[in-house]
Symmetry: C2
Subunit: 362 residues, 2 copies
Amino acid sequence: MHTCANRAGEMSVAGNKGKGSRVSIKDVARAAGVSHSTVSRALRNSPLVNAETAAHIRRIAEEMGYIPNIVAQSLVTQRTYTVGLVVTTISDPFIDQIVEGIEDLATREGYSVFLSSSHADPGREIAVVEAFHRRRVDGVIVLASRVGSMYTERLQELGVPIVLINNQADGAYLYSVSADDLSGARQAVRHLVDLGHTCIGYVGCHFRPPSNRRRLEGYRQELARAGLPYESDLVVHPKTFSDVENGRLALDALLNAGATAAFCYNDRMAIGLMAEARHRGIRVPEDLSIVGFDDIEASSYVFPSLTTVKQPRFEMGMRAMQMLLDLLAGQEVDDDLMPCELVVRESTAPPRKESLWQTCAK
Amino acid sequence: MHTCANRAGEMSVAGNKGKGSRVSIKDVARAAGVSHSTVSRALRNSPLVNAETAAHIRRIAEEMGYIPNIVAQSLVTQRTYTVGLVVTTISDPFIDQIVEGIEDLATREGYSVFLSSSHADPGREIAVVEAFHRRRVDGVIVLASRVGSMYTERLQELGVPIVLINNQADGAYLYSVSADDLSGARQAVRHLVDLGHTCIGYVGCHFRPPSNRRRLEGYRQELARAGLPYESDLVVHPKTFSDVENGRLALDALLNAGATAAFCYNDRMAIGLMAEARHRGIRVPEDLSIVGFDDIEASSYVFPSLTTVKQPRFEMGMRAMQMLLDLLAGQEVDDDLMPCELVVRESTAPPRKESLWQTCAK
DNA sequence: CTGTTAGCGCCTTCAC
DNA sequence: GTGAAGGCGCTAACAG
């Protein structure tokens, strides 16, 4: 087996017990018959080295299996080329693509990303921030549904740029990229209105106040635009910790209020609502039209497939990372609002005839 | 605003432009009137320091907002307390819990995890390994469906322990924790047999040869145990890159072979198959029973909910991380096989009467 | 118990 | 162009 470790072992004087690439810049220097500073220059493609010797050095380094040590570099350059990413929980089908977008661009730019979950637990949030601090990350991206004020304050103490996703907030070092909740919600509700619904419910999320407020506002605005009254009975905020469960719990209230359609804060709630409806013999979309938000993968293969508002998640992740890169490059950046798009599938349809004359409950 | 940065600024002599915690061990030493090594000792709770001065030093450090610099520590200790985690793609509902388990234990033990995706692309795989190498991670966990031989070889050059999840392989530094595919598959098929099915299909996965082989083997063994013949017509391996799509594509072959039930390599395939069946007017489970593998979240809320084999994903992640910790502590470890468990839901039922006399197609 | 002295691997003035 | 020297922040002998 011919590995770097072996080759390294042949070169170094002693104590090379298998740990890969103990080859340092000094070893290369010795082998190339130059000083280690020249090696350093050659490896960083500095113009201050004779082209030939540089090539020679690079060849030797290659042969010896030299791999630069970023931690040593970081110590002197004061840059770690790492970013910390905090999510509430990794088990959320909503974040996958965002993380993918972040990681994709980060890797391409030579950055690595530390992934941590906070579970919306203040204790863990503090621990995560502290860990990122000790590791001297160059920047942080927060993809948490809830960002407590104490938390952001602590984050700012890091003294590095922080990009919040779907969570605008004010403060030093704080920037954000978010989906356009308002417009997205309006598209969803308008779709329902256009279908002929006049009694539309909203199933909100108690634990994500900022975005919930915006989506609810979109709901109100669109209702107003259509000349429909805003009935508080039609707006429900179940308070369980499970989105799917909350969707299930919302059905009764919706039915009692006479809703023929419902717009849900997110897809998982919509899916829960749909499951509960089926369980009770309520047909979707015939008896109840449902639209969600996010466009998670499952939305396309549940039955009926879910009409929803698609957030450009991958792009949002990339944007957040790009923003961080810009910030690290000393550029100024503006908060970003990404457009959402309605995806019409099978869970929405015109209300049945009988429902038409029957306006909301009372 | 009272931040660390400010406090640090007050203490240090100059050039503290806001980057958090420029307070070093030396600053603390100066403020406490001791040498920096004493501070180092005090902070690491070394017994070689007077308890009182140690307490005093710690208090001062705390006041000054001192945060240890792990990169400096790493340079001298040769330990970064980081692990690299490679996944094929983050957008796979199967990995979430595993990653969660890894991250959970890692964080608790003071480790941070670098997340990278390979997209099963050799070029990216190499780049990821190289990045981990430059960052001098202490260990690596690979959660990729496919691990090429060239890839593992390269991984081993890192000279750090590597734990493979669901991907046994031989080699130096290579360890593994896997779900018991064989037993899981047998449970799934036995369930179908117990229900009365005599014509059971298998929808395999072309792109994950090792685990597919084991699940297929479990299928064969259970068929044999039940005295049922193994019909190659009933085994299909669609070759698209999408699991859901592959499930869809499998329906025809299954139907042509006369299957009344099918065991699928994973849940997404099962869900695809189910969707296609509905699309064609084939009822599940009345006309076709379906069982999946993995127990991803969606399995419980698709309709009908999916009978499947549950992998203890969170525990598998924890085990993998624990194995790495043991390895890093110099202990010996054995590869681990985690038990799977059948979860019976709505997608399986006895075959209809008419199907009973009708054995497989021919 | 505590201070002094060396590096860890690398980049960066500064002389030559 | 190139080498020597110093230091990033910290730990680890080695003396006292």
